[in-house]
């Protein structure tokens, strides 16, 4: 493609100018300025959260506000920790993320393998049934699920908090699509070597699916950690709250009085996800993008 171009340039001189990569012209400068503005606009609220957590309460209530803490302090962090049982919140959020998240992913792995490689009468009908679940968002089911679990006395318990998260519709769909794209021959080879389904799944299929698995694990973890409505409804004692719900309640109790403390609390909530995201952001961002383009 590029080889042909020099021949064309004498016909269309503008084509050559457009191609030059590192030239700083007006448009390029405008691009940098726009990019800087966008980054500042989106980044500022996060910066604001960060610095407010290090400000004294006195400094927060000054007008105009300071853009860099004048007298940085760490005292908001232990103060926030004392205001609410953040230790419990962390344990609950970890359980909510790890236990429900792992169960969800395991279900996805097994179901996707079955739908991709095993035969069953009317398999496609069963698959359509599963696809229907994709159209039923969690928000829609909170009332019936609350009633179901109240019936067996599981409100405000870990079983009640965690169990509804064990289902997998989206993950199953995502993994099945990927499994179907794997070369059949490798699977048949494993079968011929005498590998059972479990061994084929864990030693052949999953190692060939690392990128898509990584995306699924990260997306699941982040959405579990941030989930709000279900933990809010099914728990009612402070010790059972997850971080997202716990911080909202602390905010409702303390807002307008001790902002530094509340901001320190929000940092407790977002920091684990923020650190994880900055380490693995390429997997998340590119995974999401790839999923959308392939449809």
């Amino acid at each position: 493609m590029r080889v042909a171009q020099p021949l064309r340039t004498d016909v269309l001189p503008s084509a050559l100018r457009w191609q030059r990569p590192n030239q700083l012209n007006g448009w390029r400068l405008l691009g940098y300025v726009t990019m800087a503005i966008a980054v500042v606009l989106v980044g500022l609220p996060m910066y604001w959260m960060l610095i407010a957590a290090f400000k004294t309460n006195q400094e927060i209530f000054t007008s105009p506000p300071t853009w860099i803490p004048l007298a940085p302090t760490l005292e908001n962090f232990p103060a926030a920790w004392k205001q609410a049982p953040f230790g419990n919140f962390y344990v609950n959020s970890l359980l909510y993320t790890l236990v429900s998240g792992s169960a969800k992913i395991l279900q996805a792995v097994f179901s996707a393998y079955a739908f991709a490689f095993l035969s069953f009468p009317r398999k496609n009908l069963v698959f359509v049934l599963l696809l229907m679940a994709l159209m039923i968002p969690d928000e829609f089911t909170v009332l019936p699920n609350f009633l179901t679990l109240a019936l067996v006395g599981w409100t405000n318990t870990y079983q009640g908090l965690l169990l509804p998260g064990f289902v997998s519709a989206f993950g199953t769909f995502l993994l099945r699509q990927h499994f179907l794209s794997l070369p059949r021959e490798v699977l048949d080879a494993a079968r011929v070597d005498g590998a059972g389904h479990l061994r084929t799944l864990f030693n052949v299929v999953l190692p060939m699916s690392r990128p898509v698995l990584a995306t699924l694990v990260l997306l699941t973890a982040v959405s579990r950690w941030n989930d709000y409505l279900w933990p809010l409804i099914i728990t009612n004692s402070t010790e059972m709250r997850t971080l997202s719900v716990g911080i909202a309640l602390l905010f409702q109790k303390e807002s307008g009085t001790v902002w530094g403390l509340v901001m320190a609390g929000t940092l407790y909530v977002v920091l684990p996800v923020l650190v994880l995201f900055l380490i693995v952001q390429r997997h998340i961002v590119e995974g999401i993008a790839a999923g959308a383009v392939k449809g």
């Binding site: 980054v39 095993l118 070369p183 909530v269 977002v270 959308a292």
Partner: protein
């Protein structure tokens, strides 16, 4: 090495399968059915309890009068439906939902497209910029809402200062009936615009370069190339994004709950928020279920439209 294994295995497998006697084959087939059932059953069972059953239960509850405490659910036919649909509260909520969806989806798509076009240029630091723009997407909505509440504070907030620089007095945002909805939309757009930008960017990069080169050879200028190559090339992904972000906007809860709790009065109460209100604040399961069923029907229609559209596939016109 892998290639060799593949070829030999394929031949082996072809040779191996028809060799078994029919009886052994059907026994193996039955074994496979059992494995299938074992792999899929836990998921389907839980989906039945926690997804399909709720669907029916919402529908059934919408015909009952029940305070969620008393042992009797009274069947009242369409009473709840009539009560809800004839109340001015419902129409206000429907309008709020439309405002929120149109406002947030519109801004998210337009800004997301502009950011994607920007990030698609050969600029330094564009990957770093992409990371910053995407970060709000992964943050807890509840935490984000708290930070923004602080930013919107009409006395001490950052936004008041920023507006002061250009001489605009700060509205009272979340406590003002007219400004609460724009405030919620701003936060929501801030949180989702990076997602839209990343998807649009992927769509831009999926447009074949040859099309641009061919257009240039035909004498098309930058605007023509954008109008006749980029826009049609982005059509499928734009449609995907629009439906996805509309569906997501119907599910917005945490930001609204923390920032405004649906208020002031009911200025930021959406269909989903009213479902929560009726169920867990007013304890009126019947009315709540009416909202749930309406919301579900709305989302179902959108999903079906999407599926039909995807089937037809958008191509370069």
């Amino acid at each position: 090495m892998l290639g060799g294994a593949v070829v030999s295995a394929a031949t082996l497998a072809e040779a191996a399968v028809p060799a078994g006697p029919p009886r052994a084959r059907s026994r193996r087939e039955f074994g496979e059915w059992l494995t299938f059932a074992a792999f899929v059953a836990p998921n389907l069972l839980l989906l039945t309890v926690f997804s399909y059953w709720p669907l029916l239960q919402n529908l059934a509850l919408s015909f009952t009068d029940w305070d969620m405490i008393s042992p009797v659910k009274r069947f009242v036919g369409l009473d709840n439906w009539v009560t809800v649909v004839t109340s001015s509260r419902f129409w206000q909520i429907a309008l709020n939902t439309a405002t929120f969806t149109v406002g947030s989806v519109g801004c998210t798509l337009v800004l997301g497209l502009l950011l994607a076009l920007l990030l698609n240029q050969q600029l330094r630091f564009r990957n770093a910029a992409r990371t910053v723009l995407f970060t709000p997407t992964v943050l807890s909505g509840a935490a984000v809402a708290i930070v923004w509440y602080f930013i919107f504070d009409p006395n001490w907030g950052m936004l008041k200062t920023a507006l002061g620089w250009v001489g605009i007095p700060s509205p009272r945002w979340v406590v003002d009936v007219h400004w609460a909805m724009p405030a919620v939309i701003i936060v929501y757009v801030w949180k989702t615009v990076g997602y839209a930008a990343v998807i649009f960017l992927a769509g831009l990069q999926a447009i074949p370069r040859e099309l641009y080169e061919a257009a240039r050879v035909d004498g098309a200028n930058a605007w023509d190339r954008f109008r006749w190559v980029t826009i049609p090339g982005l059509a499928p992904i734009t449609f995907f994004l629009m439906v996805t972000t509309i569906l997501l906007s119907f599910q917005a809860f945490d930001i609204i709950n923390v920032m405004t709790a649906g208020g002031p009065v009911i200025a930021t109460t959406t269909l989903l928020y009213e479902y929560y209100n009726q169920a867990f604040v007013a304890f009126h399961a019947g009315n709540a279920a009416v909202y749930a069923v309406m919301l579900f029907a709305l989302m179902l229609i959108l999903t079906v439209v999407q599926l039909r559209y995807v089937e037809r596939r958008v191509t370069y016109g």
